[in-house]
Symmetry: C2
Subunit: 493 residues, 2 copies
């Protein structure tokens, strides 16, 4: 199976595409730019969803559901919002089909044109704030802490599975607050929830920061983000949290009677992560043999493969496998015994490597004799023989899973550090981007003009102004104008 | 709060609409026919989803995700399918907006017309079977047992919250099998899963049956269904499971190499339940005071309301409430202590009645003195005083929740039975439908012509041919022609 997987060093992009398809994660559909998320890929997404949902609820949020369609006029109510999204909107103009003249096909019924066209939501601020208007009268109705799991559509010309698709799945939180301070705190809280999820569950180290004016969300005052480094030296934005100020409250006239009885506009936030995280997860850890999954998100954590030549051997191995499974079950460790006789052990080894199952156990007749089990780790492909008389296999598996979770995080952390370079001249800036890639920490004069010129010349954008930015006098690498601290540039997905 | 709720006996329809809004379940949105599912309503739906998802996985199904959009030409591939859905399709024709001449609004960019229009999925058979074509080569690839949680759109002219909306949420299972027998078994299995879910979780008794030709799914060979009786004597279809035969396999050319090496078309099923179940849940059990929820689906199962006049009293009551909550928590019983001082106890009583919280505890200073708690049941509005010295309150609450679940099921079961009438003449048929409503069990000659005429004259349709139909010679109530058994007619939602 994995034999044919392209090598990362030769064609990273092809390696990614092939991996996504061969590991049964997703595939392109017949509908341009839309993907099919296959059962194995979806089961990883479900694990992400479950954990994120738990974290959202723990921080006081409830789920709700708002319409898929947005009346065209709503989009225009917030000026920069419509500017940001108008160019990639799927538009519903009719509500009926009818038979064509041949009677064999269907055509759009010209008599069923909508009075006002509907936009398939690219994001839901407008439809949600138009609803919040009726939900908020007094400060007692605040805060509104609501999240939605949904599909959204942004018409993309160049698409890539998970990373950029016309339709994608996501969650979008939309909150309304009494004060600016509370809304600002919420924005940061959710950025931190995303960062904790990325680091603790995806084993993905991230930089927490704030976007420059050119890169922020259309309609936000400030956009906070988490940025991660992929193995090819390109950055990936893994989640954003927007402080909306009173922009949408003003656009949709959402006011409340404050504690002093005065009418004021509500303060808002919105925040989201999407199936893009699947792309980040795949690209951050996987290798030329296939997926490497953090145990906390692996749909299957342990696989047991019997090495047998007769039914009697298989029966004896099955007994042992059942013991192991019974012991792992109460710990919530998922495990499968693959006793199919239609595939050889070698084929199965490659298959589960491709699928990223963290721990593989192999048991043959000789193992039964010596009371041993061969244990292989997916992350470093190492193998050890565990003597189950001398060692508690269950504990050993549990510890190994924990160690894999830690190790792949540490590996990615070291990689991100290695791929972060401070530069002080334009020549260095260009050279690092060309030859090494990664994050380039450089002084910037703070103007969108410089940012744009750098982007045009190098394709690198400001990924973020890190929240832990050091105050440090310097000169912009491009313009030479004064700067107060370094920002992170990178080429990005 | 509930004071203003209309009475069921006076205006059932208004009672339903008001209840849905006032209990914070859902509301109409600014987009015609689309609803907003509010957090409280959504939390009930989440409980339904979680249980159904568990049942699907237990029966071997995996979740996946397929595109929202369906190319227009796909719909036409199965003749009866397109006929059934063409009249209610939302059609995407353009992929971009641009600024209008005033620069203040946006218009659809005429240069961004799609080559082929896209239909927002009304159901996903076509897009899924076009994908299955690539997933199935040999009998070894079968069965495919896949489910999808998604939003779908059917353009409805007359909409009602949850019962009939242009966009709704649902799950749709789509399976592919090697043999007709297996597909038929799957169809029945999923109908039974729905019936068990309705009866055990929603406390909703259902009739299992098969649809007549006129009422079956567009593209199915047979449609199995579960039908429930609402308090106003109208029936509600609560779930359907379709045996597709080889219809979609033929339309999309999905073939496999069988065990004998011959190429054959795959056998298919599809099955779904939607947010319509919310409507059934509300209408089956609720009363003039508000919602009545089965404990297994109630987002909040127990509420504790303190009766206090001073902070000292509240502090003492809080101590007792905390003890109760700590004892309920390990049993997985959800409980809330509502100690807000901005609302009076009487207001809170009415509010939690409206929201359908199954058990309410009230504790005042005198209760502390006598070691008592007043416990009220939402289903029958009965109150008892529990002496916590003599009785284990935790057990009592647990048993009461179980008893409520049972009681509301039994009540609905008795009601359904009472509302089912066997009739043998056309006069009786008309009279029962007019005066009593409910299911009318009557002989029918088996022709769509008779079925149509009965529908035109009475608005009643054949809800189903019950699976437990007795073989019984009789004469069609309408045509007088021979019949082999009774079918269930009713007016329906």
């Amino acid at each position: 199976m994995s034999k044919g997987l392209p090598k990362r060093s030769e064609d990273y992009s092809l390696w990614y595409n092939e991996l996504v398809k061969r590991a049964d994660l997703a595939e392109n559909s017949a509908v341009r730019g839309c993907m099919v998320i296959k059962p194995y890929g979806f089961s990883i997404w479900e694990k992400m969803q479950a954990e994120l949902d738990r974290m959202f609820k723990k921080t006081g949020h409830s789920n709700a559901y708002f319409p898929l369609f947005i009346p065209k006029s709503y989009l225009s109510k917030e000026a920069s919002h419509v500017e940001g999204f108008a160019k990639e909107c799927a538009v519903v103009t009719h509500y009926r089909l009818k038979a064509d003249d041949s009677g064999k096909g269907v055509i759009v019924d010209p008599e069923a044109a909508l009075e006002e066209e509907l936009i398939v939501r690219p994001t839901s601020e407008t439809v949600i704030w138009s609803t919040y208007k009726n939900w908020v009268q007094s400060y007692r109705d605040l805060p509104l802490l609501i999240n939605q799991w949904a599909n959204v559509v942004r018409w993309e010309m160049r698409t890539r599975l998970f990373l950029r698709t016309s339709e994608f799945l996501w969650q979008e939180g939309h909150t309304a607050h009494e004060t600016k301070k509370e809304a600002r705190e919420e924005t940061l809280r959710m950025m931190n929830v995303y960062a904790e999820f990325a680091e603790n569950f995806m084993a993905l180290p991230v930089i927490r920061g704030i976007k420059s004016e050119s890169e922020k969300f259309a309609g936000a005052v400030d956009t906070y983000c988490i940025e991660a480094m992929m193995q090819d030296g390109k950055a990936l934005q893994a989640g954003t949290s927007h402080f909306l100020g009173q922009n949408f409250a003003k656009a949709f006239d959402v006011k409340f009677a404050g504690r002093d009885g005065e009418l004021e506009h509500v303060w808002g936030t919105s925040w989201g992560v999407s199936t893009r995280l699947m792309g980040a997860l795949i690209m951050a850890h996987s290798d030329d043999n296939g997926l490497v999954l953090p145990p906390k998100l692996a749909p299957l954590q342990v696989v047991i493969i019997p090495i047998f030549r007769s039914d009697e051997e298989l029966t004896a191995i099955r007994k042992k496998a059942n013991e192991i499974m019974d012991a792992l079950d109460p710990l919530g460790i998922s495990v499968k015994f693959d006793d199919r006789d239609t595939f050889k052990p070698g084929w199965k080894f490659a298959e589960y490597e491709l699928k990223g199952v963290p721990v593989r156990l192999a048991i043959g007749p000789r193992d039964l004799q010596h009371e041993t089990v061969e244990m292989a780790r997916r992350d470093d492909l190492s193998k050890t023989v565990v003597n189950t008389r001398e060692e508690n296999l269950t504990n050993r598996i549990k510890e190994t899973l924990e160690d894999i979770q830690r190790s792949i995080y540490n590996k990615a952390k070291a990689f991100t550090k290695e791929k972060t370079t401070s530069v002080d001249s334009w020549e260095q800036f260009v050279s690092i981007l060309e030859n090494k890639g990664g994050f380039v920490a450089a002084h910037w004069d703070g103007t969108p003009e410089t940012e744009n010129q750098i982007k045009e010349k190098t394709k690198a954008t400001i990924r973020c102004i890190p929240l832990d930015q050091k105050q440090e006098d310097g000169k912009c690498v491009f313009s030479g104008k004064p700067s107060k601290g370094r920002v992170l540039f990178a080429k990005a997905y």
